[in-house]
Symmetry: C2
Subunit: 421 residues, 2 copies
């Protein structure tokens, strides 16, 4: 099953919008064993859209087009599909009724232009949009099928999951799953997983993010789902507690869940990350149950004044030191009355600081039992460009959350080099 | 001049990487008056790359291909261009020497595979990569030109700016510039700018981000640069102090610059944003000179304990109230000894809180002169999906930085609805 994507919109060609829709669809389809073999972006021009859809259909079994289904006159996907199919656009009574009801419910008046969204190519299937006004379309053309979906990400995603995937991926000759790890280098993971790579019908892919690696397991064959389960079990056995989650279970969600199960809370003390750890821990709705609050002690003096880090320690070693991380974690835990305290201090660059090299970073976690744990993550310094700083800050956030996870679960420091306390 | 993009790599089709390169090139080329008319993504397959390049050349004057120039056997762009041109790959002595020198300088041994990066299609122009190992290529084919550039963003960007743009955009019949505004709705801006839209040879585009709008001015004609200056002056006159910067001057950079010029500092008190404002104010290298630190008082009790917000105020009105924002801003300014204090409190959703609707947000700014200013930004609540929360948090960050900018400059609250103090 070969699938091509056609994403439509001048804003994509001009780069005003990054094509996140194409990336999301590629990922989602791959997870369900469907191969995206080409992806094209075209602007809001009728003939160009027609040509792009026809070309894609000449190569692929299915084409997914996004965008161009709104009410304005530069929304041309409906017209393009009608032209490609050689049929007229007809107004669909049920869609028109739905539009009128939505507008009336909002207490507004229907703009005549909006009725364009009730026009469909004759004979096309209508994909109701549970999240918005513009319906999607299914058009069968020359032995293949074209799905036209709205460009609004949430609406597109809903239709992919509710309509397109069930229709296209019914058979499942390929099965895929993604496991998530934090704080371990890709080459270390790959070495451990050699036995799984050698399994017949199994392929592994490593998808690195700053300080995280997602491992995508693909199984092919008659019993792909069974084989996938077997491979996943092997990966989990070989990597042990390094796997923190699967699929969409991001690290912030996992930590939030662990804290909520225990009716526990966490407080943060940040330096180089400037607030990113707190921001990450408050992404989830309901995070007020698990996140107490935090201090951003960017200056050295504030580490003493707000967190009680001993002044002589700061004087002797500067702010970038394992004992400072430990004192920050213990200080914020105590002062904010939280179950756990997480702290980071270090040099994000691009210049060294207090005689410490860029990438020297300490993460401290304080908990109800005993002394804080401090680790010094082994961070690859990413080149010498201006982006060092942001990458190191992101890596630090991941190591902080991962170490918090390990402490909550009673696990050791893990592959990150332990240092200090 | 029509340009098509061909970005190459399985990781793009699988969605493991978002196609940021295509977006960046689209934007950069548009700024220089070049129109990207189509953009295609193909995987690492020789014949597919050849076909995509040939198709693109049949429509466009120039094709820019990125990716597939590295040392491994799935790097196939060199081979594809040789095949398309009907020539052989030949090893370039100067490139080979350069590779050997780079490897020797790093104290490593040259892998035989790496020499593939010294192979070029016979007759091709070589674009030296000042930032990495893989050279770019220029191949003239059937009346058009193909540029092949590395997929590493920094290397690609350097070659676009140093080689491709000077070669393709020499004439500059179109000139473009982008101005940045924060906190004003797109429709309000567009209404104000009607006189500029009416200027002959001028086009305006509005590029919305959460709570920000970039205005791209395009001038065409014999004296495009002169016309552009004239239009820019009109936009600035019509919008006044709403324009906070141009081009790459992001709001965090502008604020950092204003504080640095005055040897002033800012401290932050955050609630719903969980630390995002502090994170934003510490993006810039050197931000320790202008950012003192912050408190993330996520729980209501901490607003009193850490920031001194009066307990009776919190009891009477809850945490989402203009007077709470004012007290938070004054409290953090005083306790952290900063010149300015910025605070936010509000409901990010997806559920209402303390009887307040999602999107009810107050921003406070305390300064050396008098009472804190509090505004209630008029925020469009973005639909009903799970992404509400993240969008509202981003918007709140922008309003906080924009209001800080206005206070530093002695400007009024601006178009955001002023409320409270």
């Amino acid at each position: 099953m070969r699938v091509e994507l056609v994403t439509i919109g001048d804003e994509l060609l001009l780069g005003d919008t990054v094509n996140g829709n194409a990336a999301w669809m590629g990922r989602r389809l791959a997870e369900h064993g469907l191969e995206v073999t080409r992806s094209v972006v075209v602007g809001d021009e009728l003939d160009v859209i027609v040509e792009a859809v026809e070309e894609a259909l000449s190569r692929a079994d299915a084409v997914i087009a996004t965008g161009g289904l709104g009410p304005t006159y530069d929304d041309l996907t409906r017209d393009a599909l009608a032209k490609a199919a050689g049929v007229a656009l007809v107004r669909d009574a049920a869609l028109e009724r739905r539009l009128r009801e939505r507008v009336a419910a909002a207490g507004r008046e229907l703009q005549p232009m909006a009725l364009r969204m009730a026009d469909v190519p004759e004979g096309a299937g209508i994909l109701v949009n549970s999240a918005g006004s513009a319906a999607g379309l299914r058009v069968r053309l020359g032995g293949g099928v074209v799905y036209a979906l709205p460009g609004v990400p949430f609406e597109m995603r809903t239709m992919i999951d509710e309509v397109v995937l069930p229709e296209l991926a019914g058979e499942h000759r390929v099965a895929r799953r993604t496991l998530r790890t934090a704080g371990v280098w890709e080459s270390v993971l790959a070495t451990s997983l050699a036995p799984v790579e050698a399994m017949a019908g199994i392929r592994l892919a490593y998808l690195p993010d700053p300080a995280e690696v997602k491992i995508r397991i693909s199984a092919t064959g008659a019993d792909a789902p069974g084989l996938l389960d077997e491979a996943e079990a092997s990966v989990r056995e070989l990597l042990g507690d390094v796997v923190y989650g699967a699929g969409e279970q991001t690290l912030d969600r996992v930590v939030h869940g662990l804290l909520a199960e225990r009716s526990a809370t966490v407080a943060t003390a940040e330096s180089l990350t400037g607030g990113l750890i707190g921001a990450e821990l408050t992404r989830m709705p309901g995070s007020s149950a698990t996140y107490a609050g935090g201090m951003v002690t960017y200056s050295t003096a504030l580490k003493n004044e707000l967190l009680g880090v001993p002044a002589d320690l700061l004087e002797a070693h500067g702010a970038v030191h394992p004992d400072v991380a430990a004192a920050m974690a213990a200080g914020v835990r105590e002062r904010l009355g939280a179950t756990y305290g997480v702290a980071v201090t270090g040099v994000a660059g691009p210049e060294p600081q207090d005689g410490q090299a860029v990438g020297t970073i300490f993460v401290g976690v304080a908990s109800p039992g005993g002394e804080p744990r401090v680790i010094r993550p082994s961070l690859p310094v990413p080149g010498a460009g201006p982006e060092i700083r942001e990458v190191l800050r992101r890596m630090t956030v991941v190591h902080a959350l991962e170490q918090l996870r390990r402490v909550i679960l009673g696990l050791g420091a893990g592959p990150a080099e332990a240092s200090g306390a």
